[in-house]
């Protein structure tokens, strides 16, 4: 094979999450009471448009999550071999998505250029054929091909924004994956067992929620940096380091946001506990964990679903803010937060460089708006207080 697959931890987790979601969908299609709310969502045209856009983003994110390294090729197009005769791999890690957008990825200019323009941003000294020098805008190598222009080093801004999709989607979904088991377990146990267990869990989540989130995140990221510096051999390339930092960021975001869901689940479990079927099970002598599994958990799943889709857009927006504070994703990883951060200084240039900010804005807005619209209709379908039937 002329390529070697690279398995990053976030890739594996994203695909795991995807398979869990698909199997959950297949499982719930067998039960009518689970199909009915989804049917209501499907009949809502606005929600389905939003879902279509959302699935476009998700496909790009999934395609972008298959990483590999190709053979290093010398000038003649032949693979380079090392002294033992094995072919050497190019250290650049590409993804499946990169293959599809090869044309915009490789069409780099030398510096800034406005969207869809044929000339570069600033004037340079150009040598005319008859020896004299002229100061004019040099022609671009790929005129009118850059939809959002190019950035400081000449890379196509549209390409950078598309790569940022994966970062945003990963943060939105992995954080919930990490937060969910924790929040569900703690919330249900606090509501069901009451007494001492309830007190301890309430203590834990009040303490955690009164520490400012920025502090938790900043110290966790710093801890990771120190660990990565002292154990440099475990992290081979900069891609692996950036990926580990992304995973760690998701984990710490999950830890700092489980308290809200836990509180809601505790309230709901307190109510469910008094239901007749739970009391009947207790009278029949069913053991506690079986009651939790069969009666309580399926009845709180709608709250979990609503909160998962509602939090998705909030997390994508939070990533941009964190990048500003300095504890966001690694600067070598493309993300909208990094782009916006860099774009702030560029706005002060004259003539103004607005396309970096515009590209990040358009793509982020598309994802967050469609997520919000879809989440609204999911909440309308699943919330028992708002149900129309």
């Amino acid at each position: 094979m002329s390529f070697k697959l690279v398995f990053l931890s976030t890739d594996i987790l994203i695909y795991l999450l995807f398979f869990v979601a698909v199997s959950f969908a297949v499982y719930s299609s067998r039960f009518e009471h689970l199909r009915a709310p989804w049917r209501q969502v499907v009949h809502n045209r606005l929600a389905m448009t939003a879902a279509f856009v959302l699935s476009g983003y998700l496909t790009i994110a999934l395609c972008d999550s298959i990483h590999f390294q190709q053979y290093a090729i010398d000038e003649n197009g032949q693979p380079i071999h090392d002294n033992k005769g094995h072919p050497v791999y190019n250290p650049e890690v590409l993804s499946l998505f990169d293959l599809f957008v090869t044309n915009i990825r490789e069409n780099t200019e030398s510096t800034y250029s406005a969207p869809l323009s044929a000339q570069s941003y600033s004037k340079e000294n150009i040598a005319l054929p008859d020896g004299k020098q002229m100061r004019d805008y040099p022609k671009l190598k790929f005129p009118k091909k850059h939809l959002f222009g190019t950035d400081k080093v000449g890379q196509d801004v549209f390409y950078r924004a598309l790569k940022g999709i994966r970062t945003g989607v990963v943060i939105g979904t992995l954080t919930t994956l990490i937060m969910l088991p924790f929040a569900i377990m703690m919330g249900i146990m606090a509501g069901y067992f009451k007494g001492r267990v309830d007190d301890i869990i309430q203590y834990i989540y009040t303490t955690l929620s009164s520490i400012p989130g920025v502090l938790l995140i900043a110290s966790a990221v710093l801890m990771l940096q120190v660990y990565m510096d002292t154990h440099a051999d475990q992290f081979e390339s900069i891609t692996v380091r950036a990926d580990t930092r992304l995973l760690f960021l998701c984990m710490i975001l999950g830890v700092s946001s489980w308290t809200g869901l836990c509180r809601i689940l505790r309230g709901e479990t307190l109510k469910l506990r008094e239901m007749e079927y739970v009391q009947a099970s207790q009278a029949l002598g069913v053991n506690h964990f079986k009651i939790l599994r069969k009666h309580i958990v399926p009845n709180i799943m709608h709250i979990v679903l609503i909160s998962v889709v509602l939090d998705f857009s909030g997390l994508v927006l939070a990533e941009a803010v964190l990048a500003y504070v300095g504890v966001g994703v690694d600067p070598s990883m493309e993300s909208w937060g990094n782009m916006i951060n860099a774009a702030r200084l560029e706005l002060a240039r004259d003539p103004i460089v607005w396309w970096n900010l515009a590209a990040a804005f358009v793509l982020m807005f598309g994802l967050v708006l469609s997520a919000n619209l879809f989440a609204d209709s999911v909440r309308d379908a699943f919330d028992p207080r708002l149900r129309t039937r």
């Binding site: 955690l208 920025v214 502090l215 110290s219 801890m223 941009a320 504070v325 919000n372």
Partner: protein, 325 residues
């Protein structure tokens, strides 16, 4: 009632202790006092004596939790953890690593944070309630639907764009207000306008939607139907009867935020260069100044717990059906 408040305040003490421990662990797992000394004295060419002297000056020369060398009770008290945490409970925050008195700094930086946070909060609530009441009045019409669409769109735009766009539009293009900075006294007004306006506009989307849901839930109740059937005008029904009862959930939702206004909004202060408590915390985290971080986290927790207690009191005050034993 007084019993309840005392009981809740006593519950607060283990929480504050826990917060203290977590902050301490988070901070000192990342860097040892040796590294902190090195950071402050300059990275290269520091002699071990200089490090020891710096540590002694700042009370970092003791072991972190447990001092095996001392005897008896001293084992616990002669450690960094005890020395640094016990002063907090009597609100003695001590000096920061540069030597400035933290309490004085907090007192000074509190006002810029408040100058931005309080107007944003009050104005935001006023605007949100007015707009959502109007929308609840015209519910079901095209104005309602288009207002909701507008709200979702406003909510979906990141706050950063409002800040950057606002700074660009009003600061650079129209030159109405300065882009960032702060001044004390009355000239603070021109620095405060832009952050407050941007804060209110950014919060309209989510706020109006949430309050509209509350209003609609209230309007669907029976007593409103009775009031209407009595022949009262729609305005009277909404303002005189509906508004008061909707204010209950609104109030309980916002009272918990009020004490935290002191801490200042991190993002706003960073973007607009306001020397408030939020930027104080961020700078302290970046320069690894433990005293300031510990003081601010402690203050934040105390204010949060005060907010929770205030919410409960408020809840029982406005809703006569709620009583605490």
């Amino acid at each position: 009632m007084l019993n309840y408040i005392i009981r809740r305040s006593l519950y607060a003490i283990p929480i504050l202790l826990g917060v203290n421990i977590i902050t301490f662990v988070l901070f000192f797992v990342v860097n040892t006092p040796d590294q902190m000394a090195r950071l402050h004295l300059g990275m290269k060419r520091v002699t071990p004596e200089a490090i020891e002297k710096w540590k002694k000056d700042h009370n970092y020369h003791l072991p972190r939790f447990w001092n095996g060398a001392e005897s008896g009770f001293e084992k616990i008290t002669q450690s960094i953890f005890y020395q640094k945490s016990v002063g907090l409970f009597v609100l003695r925050f001590g000096k920061s690593d540069e030597g400035r008195d933290i309490t004085h700094e907090i007192g000074k930086r509190m006002w810029p944070s408040l100058a931005i946070a309080l107007p944003t909060f009050l104005l935001g609530i006023l605007v949100n309630i007015t707009v959502s009441m109007f929308i609840a009045f015209v519910r079901g019409s095209y104005m309602d639907i288009s207002a909701m669409v507008l709200c979702v769109i406003i909510m979906s735009i990141s706050g950063l764009f409002y800040i950057i766009g606002g700074q660009f539009l009003f600061g650079k293009m129209l030159r109405l207000v300065p882009i960032s900075g702060y001044d004390s006294g009355f000239s603070a007004v021109k620095f405060v306008i832009l952050p407050v306006v941007i804060g209110v506009i950014g919060g309209i989307g989510g706020g109006v939607r949430w309050y509209r849901t509350l209003f609609l839930e209230e309007i669907g109740k029976d007593y409103i139907r009775t009031a209407r059937s009595k022949g009262l005008t729609e305005t009277t029904v909404l303002f005189k009867h509906g508004l008061k009862n909707t204010l209950i959930p609104i109030l309980t939702g916002v009272v918990v935020i009020i004490p935290l206004l002191f801490m200042g909004s991190l993002v706003m202060e960073a973007f607009f260069g306001i020397p408030g408590l939020g930027s104080y915390t961020i700078n302290a985290i970046n320069s690894q100044d433990f005293n300031i971080v510990r003081a601010m986290v402690f203050l934040g927790s105390v204010l949060y717990i005060v907010g929770l207690i205030l919410t409960d009191i408020c809840y029982s005050w406005v809703d006569p059906r709620i009583r605490f034993e």
